[in-house]
């Protein structure tokens, strides 16, 4: 392995990751400097249950009509985000636990998921370009984030075999993209995962307090009225 690739996989990633972590900390501090809304009413339901329900929403596609009636979009969502998880995992496995990618089955699983995620990225990009509704709401950041994510997945497909002795190019491309991501993500829509717990928490807390979450499916009356 060349010194360039070694530094790129290690020191450069650590610096970029530290940068991202620092920006995220500042970002969260910024968010928390806004006052929290106060709830001073007597509760009907339970805030904690509401928060848990709201947080678990991501794995309950039946709980939300938009996912329930649009299974293909939900499956795309799952594949795309599995790609993100495995892509990030690969950036750690390659420099720190390279033996894992000596197991063919693991490499194949990573490649399959990353390739599928890249395909979903292309589908999503086409949807964003073709649909008049999506075009109107899309910003340059939306397009750009999708393109670079798709390229990241694609580069990951070639990087995970970790065959630097054959060619370092796939790994160089993959880690340059990773570095770029770590620096760019905090300023783009991709950082939505940072906000996800908060938006879902706020919604779940209010809706849980009022007894709206967990959603009722029929029959149950509140305690004291049965």
């Amino acid at each position: 392995m060349s010194e360039f690739l070694r530094i790129l996989e290690n020191e450069v990633q650590i610096v970029a990751l530290s940068f991202m972590g620092t920006v995220y900390i500042i970002r969260l501090a910024w968010m928390f400097h806004f006052k929290a809304g106060q709830e001073v009413t007597m509760s009907v339901g339970d805030s904690k249950t509401g928060v848990a329900y709201s947080m678990m929403n991501v794995v309950m596609p039946w709980a939300m009509e938009s996912a329930r009636k649009n299974w293909s979009f939900y499956i795309q969502f799952v594949i795309f985000h599995l790609g993100v998880i495995l892509g990030i995992a690969a950036t750690f496995i390659i420099p720190y636990w390279p033996w894992l990618f000596e197991i063919t089955a693991i490499v194949v699983i990573f490649q399959a998921v990353l390739a599928a995620a890249a395909v979903v990225g292309v589908i999503r990009f086409v949807r964003r370009v073709v649909s008049p509704v999506m075009r109107v709401i899309s910003t340059p950041d939306d397009y750009f984030s999708l393109v670079v994510m798709t390229l990241f997945f694609a580069s990951g497909v070639f990087a995970v075999p970790n065959t630097y002795e054959v060619s370092e190019m796939p790994l160089v491309v993959f880690f340059i993209m990773t570095t770029f991501f770590l620096v760019y993500v905090p300023f783009s829509k991709i950082s939505h995962y940072l906000y996800y717990p908060f938006t879902r928490y706020f919604l779940g807390k209010t809706m849980g307090h009022r007894g709206v979450f967990p959603r009722k499916r029929g029959g149950e009356l509140p305690a004291g009225l049965e």
Binding site: F34, A36, G37, E65, R135, V136, I137, Y196, V212, L225
Partner: protein, 477 residues
């Protein structure tokens, strides 16, 4: 603003009408004089004022919804405006929320401040842009919160719409109807400008009617009685236009042997602050009600059938008034269930034999906690209850939510998008659609009339009244 180029909606360019505002200024209305009710100043630097106010209205929840949207478009199919106008991108919830989000990004988002075009961060340029924002947030959204519950990220678009409304209300850039109703609520304490004399007359009239119907002169609608089990609060529509629900409630409370009262001040449980975004008005109206209950030492507050009234009085009002809830409150639906469960009233479901469906009010189902209570009641008071689909928190708005009924200029669009509701109603095959909200009664009536459906709208109280079995005579009331 950017979207002018794709403006294909006829409501976007409706001008700001200030005739009622001008009239109120001329009349030197106290709420305007005291600075509570804001009017439009064409010479004021309104854009600058809006930007200045935005920061003061942000809290953690709102900021979360500002930064959390990923423009995935999943909210599109949840909105009846977008479903009825699928080719009009301006009808989508995300587009509507983006109108305030772009201003937020321009001032609070790092990327938006440095490279605004990259994330569509943008300020309104002039009052024309603010008027367009008014038409979007008042005219193309009923704040029904259906998109909120269908957002994978948990972005509360309805809250962002209300925030936008609140900023515009501070500038007097509001539909005439919103201004007039707000003025009435500030001036008279109720949103329909009912005078105390008319209020007392209606109560007396309903008391006499109810006495005659039950042939029982001991039936009373008590006023300002202290230490009762509950204080009953109503929608001014029950005083001004349709007092039958009040009469029905009086009969039921009497038969149940209830200890109850109504206040002479603080009886309006509706709250236009919810629709206009004016928390100060919201706090004023809600505080009237809470204060009345405290003064009368009522053990509970019972709220008659009204979606936004229930939401405002039961939930939001305490928060607007920063008034920790000290007296329990409940919907009359809960009170009715208790009466039936405890055998305090007897009902015969065969007296409501026509096919009946139920429309969930947005404010009760998505912002309140009442979805099973009305169904429990319907199963006890009618014989042919047919569920509407989708239902409960997935139900579609009646078209009249968010104060839309007061904004006549947007009615053509409201009726057009009402097709979603009309299809839902027609599919039930029911002859009667029951709801638990006065606003929904009017919204549904408009839809039924417009789409020529063979249906009538009733409220649960009417059905309970119809199903009542009198203890001694065993006759229908």
């Amino acid at each position: 603003m950017n979207e002018k180029a794709i403006d294909i909606s006829d409501v976007m360019n409706l001008p700001l009408d200030t005739k009622e505002q001008d009239k109120a200024v001329e009349e030197n209305v106290p709420s305007i004089k005291e600075g509570k009710l804001k009017t439009y100043n064409p010479k004021g630097d309104n854009v600058k004022r809006l930007l200045g106010m935005l920061k003061t209205k942000l809290n953690r929840q709102v900021v979360g919804s500002m930064v959390g949207c990923v423009h995935c478009g999943m909210c599109t199919d949840s909105c009846h405006y977008a479903l009825a106008r699928p080719d009009d991108p301006t009808m989508t919830p995300v587009y509507k929320a983006d109108q305030i989000r772009k201003i937020f990004k321009k001032h609070f988002d790092w990327t938006g401040r440095i490279v605004p075009w990259w994330v569509h961060a943008e300020d309104p340029e002039n009052d024309e842009d603010l008027n367009r924002l008014k038409n979007i947030v008042f005219g193309t959204c009923t704040a029904c919160r259906r998109c909120t519950l269908n957002c994978p990220m948990g972005v509360d678009t309805a809250t962002l719409v209300r925030l936008s409304r609140s900023l515009l209300t501070e500038l007097g850039i509001v539909p005439e109807g919103v201004f007039v109703v707000s003025k009435d609520q500030w001036e008279t304490g109720n949103q329909m400008g009912v005078s105390e004399e008319d209020y007392l007359d209606t109560i007396e009239w309903m008391e006499e009617e109810s006495q005659d119907e039950l042939e029982d002169p001991t039936l009373k609608i008590p006023l300002d009685r202290e230490d009762c089990d509950f204080m009953y609060t109503v929608n001014p529509r029950e005083i001004k236009y349709d007092p039958r629900p009040l009469g029905a409630a009086a009969k039921i409370f009497h038969l149940a042997g209830e200890s109850w009262t109504m206040p002479t001040w603080g009886w309006d449980m509706t709250n236009f602050g919810l629709f206009s975004g004016d928390d100060t008005l919201g706090a004023f109206v809600a505080s009237n009600l809470y204060e009345a209950a405290r003064k009368l030492r009522a053990r509970r507050i019972v709220i008659s059938e009204c979606g936004h009234g229930y939401r405002a009085s039961r939930w939001e009002g305490y928060n607007w008034a920063k008034n920790k809830q000290d007296i329990p409150s409940e919907s009359i639906l809960v009170t009715l269930i208790r009466y039936i469960n405890e055998g305090r009233i007897t009902v015969d479901p065969s007296k409501n034999s026509l096919p009946i469906t139920f429309h969930d009010s947005c404010n009760l189902a998505r912002s309140g906690d009442l979805t099973e209570e009305p169904r429990w009641l319907l199963k006890h008071i009618c014989t042919d209850f047919r569920e509407m689909y989708p239902n409960r928190a997935d139900n579609f708005c009646c078209t009249g939510g968010g104060g839309a009924l007061s904004m006549v200029e947007y009615k053509p669009l409201r009726m057009e998008v009402g097709k979603v509701k009309a299809d839902q109603l027609a599919a039930t095959g029911a002859k009667i659609v029951c709801t638990s909200c006065h606003n929904c009664v009017d919204g549904l009536t408009d839809v039924i009339k417009h789409y020529k459906l063979d249906m009538q709208v009733v409220q649960i109280l009417e059905l309970v009244e119809n199903a009542l079995v009198l203890p001694e005579k065993q006759e229908t009331v």
